[in-house]
């Protein structure tokens, strides 16, 4: 059987196609796709879905169940059900690493800390309030500002030239002009990035503190690719964190697994 999970985030739209024969099989990911979120949610979702299908031999009618999640989850008419991204991230992380008990998801708009049980069911969660300061958006802005690709921010942030510059403003806009001033003062971009990473890391940790951190800690979402953040978090926490090889699809993966569970409900395992 084929199930699909679609995660429409504020920055990217991710689709995962999951295949399995029966409920007691773990199922495996046939393909996935990640595209930037467009203006029209439904179009974006279709585009992402087709993107994933192209990589496989499957046709859209072979899909038996679709679960949508993320900001845009309610605007996808062809999805059978929508489930909040919080539950989906827990599910997905727990599927990828069975030992996962805490999930730190750093998306574009918001940042969540989720604790879950061994089945991936959410026990408690915390989300940053209406402020993208602790989320991917700020990193993106900074990277664009100092003119380096987002991917390289991480490693550069460790090649500190003088000392990490201190970025005080929490508001992305004010932080942005703070950085502009630093650049004009001729501060090296690595130091600025280091400062930005420190600031973001601190904000994330102060958020995490609010919920108990149980190991293993899994980091998902776009920022998980940024070693500048993940390494710093590890240092601060004093233990190593788990990072999926494709952290961005965890939400969509979780959705796909929910789809599987819904299908198999009632059927003998």
């Amino acid at each position: 059987m084929i199930t699909v999970g679609i995660d429409i985030g504020s920055l990217s739209a991710d689709v995962v196609i999951l295949h399995f024969n029966d409920s007691n099989e773990r199922g495996r990911v046939l393909s996935y796709s990640i595209i930037p979120t467009g203006f029209d949610t439904e179009k974006t979702a279709k585009k992402a879905l087709n993107g994933a299908l192209e990589k496989t031999s499957i046709d859209i009618k072979d899909i038996s169940y679709i679960v949508a999640t993320g900001y845009g989850r309610v605007n996808i008419p062809f999805a059978n059900k929508n489930i909040s991204e919080i539950s989906c991230h827990a599910k997905g992380a727990n599927y990828t690493f069975n030992s996962a008990r805490t999930v730190l998801d750093m998306g574009g708009q918001d940042c969540k800390v989720i604790t879950c049980d061994e089945t991936g069911k959410v026990k408690s969660f915390i989300m940053n309030d209406k402020c993208a300061a602790g989320a991917g958006r700020s990193m993106e802005v900074m990277a664009k500002l100092v003119g380096v690709p987002l991917e390289s921010v991480g490693e550069l942030s460790f090649k500190i030239v003088d000392k990490p510059s201190n970025i005080t403003s929490t508001c992305v806009l004010f932080a942005r002009s703070e950085v502009m001033e630093l650049l004009r003062k001729g501060v090296h971009k690595n130091d600025i990035l280091a400062g930005a990473c420190d600031a973001l890391m601190n904000r994330v940790l102060s958020l995490m503190g609010r919920s108990q951190i149980e190991t293993d800690l899994v980091i998902s979402g776009g920022i998980a690719k940024n070693v500048g953040i993940t390494k710093r978090i590890e240092e601060k926490l004093g233990f190593s964190v788990k990072i999926p090889e494709e952290p961005q699809i965890i939400g969509a993966l979780g959705a796909a697994i929910f789809a599987k569970e819904i299908l198999c409900k009632g059927k003998p395992a």
């Binding site: 605007n75 918001d110 993208a132 958006r137 508001c171 002009s177 502009m180």
Partner: protein, 256 residues
């Protein structure tokens, strides 16, 4: 007697040279370097435009983010006072000024002599500023210079909570996902920013005429929203970005 005013903001630097009552030259450039360097650069460019050299200037007044240590200036006057001078140059009946720059937004009340009687500015919140509209236009995939025109075709006003720029951004994102039209979103943004500004105006008990300056003043949508919120047409001088620099130049004329 020729004098100049130099104004450096966080995105652009402006300079104006006046001789008596006429503007010889004015320039607006994007900031790329430290404030001092930019101040020098923009002043030189303006001098070149006017076909003058530095020593032709008998007095220079700096304003905005230009540090007091800048060697180029003879006197520093805050942007608020400069704005009053500049606005009065275009509209002698100016009593209230709205300045929307890249990062700052302030409203001020002045009298005929350009003395600021009262002013109010955004301290922590970046909403209602150029950067903010930049950010949103990015989310909406619209060019910043187009949002004004685009918003004019909108009839709809969606309620929005604009306590902070970032908050508003996620608000906009969820509106997008609810399938709202771009023009309506932009229009609503303009309206809610306008209502915030008008609240500032009311707080200082503003009087007619109201002059709208700063980079955002080039956005006709914003101007329309402001006028409708205030209930009377706001006046926009030609080249609204340079008004503060002009004000500085006029101060220089007075002091020289």
């Amino acid at each position: 007697m020729r004098v100049a005013g130099v104004d450096v903001g966080c995105l652009t630097a402006k300079a104006v040279i006046v001789d008596g009552n006429d503007i010889l030259a004015s320039t607006v450039i994007l900031v790329e370097n430290t404030t001092e360097i930019e101040a020098d650069r923009v002043l030189c460019m303006t001098l070149k435009k006017a076909g003058l050299t530095r020593d032709c200037l008998s007095f220079v007044v700096s304003t905005g983010a230009v540090p007091a240590t800048w060697a180029g200036s003879d006197f520093y006057l805050s942007e608020v006072s400069c704005a009053a001078n500049g606005a009065l140059y275009y509209y002698p009946l100016t009593r209230t000024i709205i300045d929307m720059g890249a990062e700052n937004c302030f409203c001020s009340k002045c009298d005929g002599d350009g003395i600021v009687l009262d002013y109010i500015a955004n301290q922590k919140c970046a909403s209602g500023t150029g950067l903010f509209l930049d950010l949103i236009s990015g989310v909406l995939e619209v060019k910043i210079e187009d949002i004004g025109k685009l918003s004019l075709d909108s009839k709809k006003y969606l309620k929005m909570n604009l306590t902070c720029a970032v908050f508003a951004e996620s608000e906009v994102v969820s509106l997008i996902h609810q399938g709202e039209k771009k023009e309506d979103i932009i229009n609503s943004l303009h309206m809610s920013i306008a209502s915030r500004v008008v609240a500032m105006l009311k707080a200082i008990k503003f009087k007619e005429e109201v002059i709208f300056i700063g980079g955002v003043a080039k956005n006709i949508g914003m101007a329309k929203a402001l006028s409708s919120e205030i209930g009377s047409q706001v006046k926009i001088p030609s080249n609204p970005e340079a008004v503060i620099a002009l004000g500085a130049a006029l101060e220089a004329r007075a002091l020289a």
